[in-house]
């Protein structure tokens, strides 16, 4: 009886199943990608027992330690071997994040790169490619590849089974130190022990060597990476939204099915069925649908995982890694959806009194409509008549368009912040390291800054260095190093206290001060030691107001970037020369830095491109899931009104007339939902902004474009979702439609 009912309404069942399956597929794919990222990080430990990295580093790829430390660790009792490794993210064409690691060709750490083709790494200028990377980049042994503007010769191809590594490349340690600007430094040390069981004791010994290091057991590495946490959180959030929308669709269908079967339910009750039986019947239907959706979603997810791993741009940063647990999670998610989606309709079904249910006439309406409704147009009334369903659908669409609005506004806000950040001091040009995967990885030698400053057209350059502190005292703080004598320091408008002037002094942005509960005179532990807070400032840029500022020299020491900065702001004598100077620097120093006009800095950044790519993915997800939900609602609404439509055609209404009637209803529904979504987007943004640590960095700007975009999404949903049902409605044969029960 259950399956027959689902089969009779197969379009609807199919759409519901699809809605659920897209949600489940999102859970599987995004979960697999987050898992792949975690696996990737775990794999960085190679075959070592302990990993020594910089304390307070936000992420292992941002860690830096003095090379000489390696020798001191090697002398500790119980340590068998130590090898220093440099890792970094390089931007390649089509692959925004490409993991490059530098190993000593003779060292222990390179041993686990099993060569499957070609030869081992022996000298500078050679590169080994991971098997997947070689495939994605279409490179073979003997080819050459450019990293940071320098050509490398592919000596061999390896496979380690670690997704990250197989999607990356290996070069010699000294090459890596050079191109990743880490001379005499490494990202971390891999330490293998005589007796792995003594890991804890050795860990303490190494930690005693220097306050600057943190030691992690290889097995714990992934879990201690903030990046992994962030990505896991995001994957979870997005798949929850997809699931939510799918669940709304599910509930929608079941509410509909219950209404449709009201008479049948009445008959069953009259024949002596208990409420419990009715409940089982309805829940059985929804669980059946969701089970199908779950299974379909898992296969869809498997297909997508395969596709992700074939796409170099995604696979190199977040290769999808499937765990059986994830599939089970997707399936149980679907069943939970089925249960929740079915529970309310099932409860409603048991509440029908048999007499009422038997009298129920879908065609007759219920006559409980409020008088003001008379003044609304036809489409609005039709929506009102099915208000539970309309509301569920609207919430579904609104969730999608809220997501688009919120992410759009945040991207836009970030862009503006970035541009404001670099152009506040009045500098015309901005330089960051060429070929870098994102701003966080940018490193420029001060030598380059001096070369730029020496140009006659340049008034002065000011370099700043940034880093992220994630110590115990301060879980997450964006740090800026600036020379206290730099004239651009005046951009930090002091609200309290004064600017930094000497060593061991820090000033905090006002949001940072509030979050950390620090005020002038307090001390704060940051990378490089203990600082005294001498001033609280404000710039109006969220990034800076949530940051701490210390002297450039101290920052360079703390982040192991001596004589290096992250970014140069370049002030010209004559602003009109900006383009000419831009071109000049690009030709002379193009291999070192990439220069942008400050006003368009953000647009050119790889970071923003990546964010936009993510936006587009979310956009598509919202469109697909939302489209299915709208189509479903409209299909139901058309089927339910088959007789009505037959009547209209019998009375001489044209097909286009009927088409437009259905379409306008669906457009209206989604238009209303779009408005709701905008409001929801605002709330979502506020919610995101109140997340501790990173929320303070989010600035949202609702440009007309962002608002327009989310309305367009909604209307597009209405159009897409309405088109098929409208077409179906207009194609109904009048004589058939009139016979429809």
């Amino acid at each position: 009886m259950i399956w027959r009912a689902l089969w009779q309404r197969r379009t609807r069942s199919l759409l519901t199943v699809l809605g659920v399956s897209v949600g489940v597929a999102a859970v599987v794919v995004l979960g697999a990608m987050a898992e792949g990222l975690a696996q990737g990080y775990a794999g960085m430990a190679g075959g070592a027992d302990l990993l020594v990295m910089q304390a307070n580093a936000y992420d292992i790829t941002l860690s830096a330690l003095d090379e000489d430390l390696g020798a001191r660790i090697a002398q500790l009792p119980g340590v068998r071997e130590v090898s220093g490794v440099v890792v970094g993210m390089v931007a390649l064409e089509k692959v925004p994040y490409f993991l490059v690691s530098g190993h000593d060709p003779e060292g222990a750490s390179i041993q686990h790169f099993r060569i499957v083709q070609g030869n081992r790494l022996v000298r500078a200028g050679q590169v080994l490619l991971g098997r997947q990377a070689a495939k994605n980049l279409k490179k073979n042994v003997g080819d050459s590849i450019r990293l940071f503007g320098k050509a490398f010769h592919v000596a061999g191809i390896y496979e380690t089974g670690q997704l990250f590594e197989d999607n990356g490349a290996v070069i010699t340690l000294s090459d890596a130190q050079r191109i990743l600007k880490k001379s005499h430094r490494v990202s971390f040390f891999e330490v293998s022990l005589e007796h792995p069981s003594e890991a804890d004791r050795t860990k303490r010994l190494i930690e005693d060597l220097s306050p600057e290091v943190s030691v992690t057991k290889a097995s714990d590495l992934a879990d201690e990476q903030q990046t992994v946490e962030t990505i896991r959180g995001m994957a979870w959030g997005i798949s929850m939204i997809a699931i939510l929308i799918g669940g709304l669709g599910m509930m929608n269908t079941m509410v509909m099915a219950v209404f449709e079967q009201t008479r049948e339910i009445g008959v069953l009750r009259a024949l002596g069925w208990r409420r419990r039986h009715i409940m089982k019947l309805v829940l059985g239907q929804s669980l059946g649908l969701s089970l199908l959706g779950g299974l379909l979603g898992i296969s869809l997810g498997l297909g997508l995982v395969w596709m992700v791993n074939q796409t170099p741009a995604i696979a190199s940063i977040a290769p999808a890694f499937l765990k059986v647990g994830l599939l089970l999670q997707g399936l149980s998610m679907a069943l939970v959806l089925g249960f929740i989606g079915g529970a309310y309709p099932a409860w409603r079904a048991t509440r029908f009194s048999p007499v009422e249910a038997l009298r129920y006439d879908t065609g007759a309406g219920m006559g409980r409509e409020p008088p003001w409704l008379r003044h609304l147009n036809l489409a609005l009334r039709a929506l009102w008549r099915r208000r539970t369903r309309s509301l569920l659908t609207m919430v579904g669409i609104a969730t999608g368009s809220a997501l688009v609005a919120s992410l759009g506004a945040i991207t836009e806000g970030t862009l503006r912040e970035l541009n404001a950040f670099v152009s506040k001091g009045g500098a015309e040009l901005v330089a960051i390291q060429a070929g870098v995967a994102d701003m966080g990885y940018s490193v420029i030698d001060e030598r380059v800054g001096r070369a730029i400053a020496a140009m006659p057209e340049v008034a002065y350059v000011s370099g700043i260095l940034w880093g992220v502190s994630s110590g115990e005292d301060v879980p997450f703080l964006f740090m800026i190093g600036i020379d206290p004598t730099d004239p651009t320091i005046s951009r930090y408008r002091i609200m309290q206290g004064r600017h930094i002037a000497a060593r061991h002094e820090a000033m905090l942005g006002h949001t940072a001060a509030r979050n950390l509960e620090k005020s002038v005179g307090d001390t704060i532990i940051l990378p490089g030691g203990t600082y005294r807070v001498v001033g609280i400032f404000e710039t109006g840029t969220a990034y800076e107001d949530a940051a701490g500022v210390i002297a450039l020299r101290e920052a360079q020491a703390a982040f192991q970037k001596r004589h290096q900065v992250s970014l140069y702001q370049i002030k010209l004598r004559d602003s009109s020369q900006a383009q000419a100077v831009h071109d000049l620097i690009e030709t002379r120093l193009g291999s070192e830095v990439s220069v942008s006009m400050s006003a368009t800095f953000g647009e050119n950044l790889a970071d923003l491109q990546n964010t936009k790519a993510m936006m587009n993915a979310v956009f598509t997800l919202a469109l697909v899931v939302g489209g299915i939900v709208v189509t479903n609602t409209m299909v139901m609404s058309v089927m339910e009104r088959t007789r009505e439509i037959g009547t209209l055609r019998a009375l001489g209404w044209r097909k286009v007339h009927v088409l437009w009637m259905v379409l306008s209803e669906s457009l209206l529904l989604s238009g209303l939902a779009g408005g709701m979504g905008l409001l929801g987007g605002g709330v979502l943004t506020l919610a995101l902004q109140s997340v501790p640590d990173f929320g303070a960095f989010l600035t949202a700007v609702y440009t007309p474009q962002v608002v327009g975009q989310s309305i367009v999404v909604a209307l597009l949903l209405g159009l897409l979702g309405g088109l098929y049902p409208a077409w179906r409605a207009s194609r109904l044969q009048p004589a058939e439609a009139l016979r429809y029960e």
Binding site: G363, A364, G365, M366, G367, E369, R374, L378, R381, A382, W384, R385, R643, E644, G646, T647, L648, R649, A650, L651, G652, W653, R654, K655, H657, Q733, P734, A735, L738
Partner: protein, 288 residues
């Protein structure tokens, strides 16, 4: 009557359903209806009445044969929507009103897309609702009206574009006798005052007798077609077709007497009935 123009004519119309086990819903129907006729189509359920009505109203296309309505061959009409809106008025068994629209708005529905101004539509709808006696129910929703009232709204809606023909498929089928009579009164007066041709499908003989001609269908064919001459005549006709009537007409008195018993006045009753019946039977023969 014979001098009135023909408004409906069908020539060997067939309508088959399905491809495997074919259902011959209509199996060669020939009929002629003249302007101003008030006609009933009777027959058991499944005999093809609704199918025939749907074909006449261009809701469906015949498998074979030709249908001419109001001088136009339906097969050649390009704008069937306009034809339905302008020439035909439908009344269904279930009123089929739009539940979200008020009575007045329901009556306006067929006028949409016919180039009529909103004001004119409104006035016409109000006028029609007055005609069907619902002047005080204009702004009620279907759910707030009784079954008979809903059906009257449906009749008003059928009149919206002053159609040449009204096709009513069991318009009294879901009503009580009283409301059914009211609907018949209404249709009768429309037929008389406006000269609209009206075809009613029904299987209620009392409804059929209120029209002026009855077509009887069986298995997709028209098996009888006769004018209505009054209640007594119709009763006798029914008797003539019964088993009893057959025995009477055959003159099988012995069988009759075993059936009726041998009371002294039985023979007398049989004689009277036979004389009446033979008169009717002649009529039936001439018609057939």
């Amino acid at each position: 009557m014979e001098t009135q123009p023909v408004v409906v004519a069908t020539y060997q119309v067939t309508r088959y359903y399905g491809d495997g086990a074919v259902v011959r819903a209509l199996d060669g129907v020939d009929m002629v209806v003249r302007k101003g006729e008030f006609l009933a189509i009777m027959g058991p359920s499944g005999s093809g009445k609704s199918t025939l009505l749907n074909l006449l109203g261009a809701l469906d296309r015949p498998t074979g044969g030709r249908i001419v309505v109001n001088g136009e061959d339906l097969a050649t009409i390009r704008d069937l929507d306009r034809f339905r809106a302008r020439t035909i008025g439908f009344v269904f068994q279930l009123h089929n009103l739009l539940p979200t629209l008020t009575a007045r708005e329901n009556v306006e529905v067929p006028m949409h897309g016919q180039g009529i101004s909103g004001n004119a539509m409104r006035q016409r709808a109000e006028h029609l609702l007055e005609i069907v006696g619902l002047a005080d129910r204009m702004n009620h929703l279907p759910a707030q009206l009784s079954g008979g009232q809903r059906q009257r709204v449906a009749v008003a809606r059928a009149l919206a574009n002053s159609p040449a023909i009204i096709l009513a498929d069991e318009p009294t089928g879901s009503l009580d006798t009283q409301s059914g009579n009211e609907i018949m009164d209404l249709l009768e007066s429309i037929n008389q005052t406006q000269g609209t041709t009206i075809l009613i499908v029904t299987h209620d003989p009392r409804v059929a007798r209120r029209t002026r001609r009855i077509l009887t269908m069986r298995d997709g064919k028209i098996v009888d077609d006769h004018p209505v001459r009054g209640a007594v005549w119709e009763d006798l006709r029914d008797l003539a077709r019964s088993r009893l009537g057959e025995m009477l007409l055959r003159g099988d008195d012995e069988a009759l007497l075993t059936q009726l018993g041998t009371a002294p006045d039985s023979a007398r009753a049989i004689a009277v009935l036979r004389s009446w019946l033979s008169r009717v039977a002649q009529d039936i023969d001439t018609l057939a």
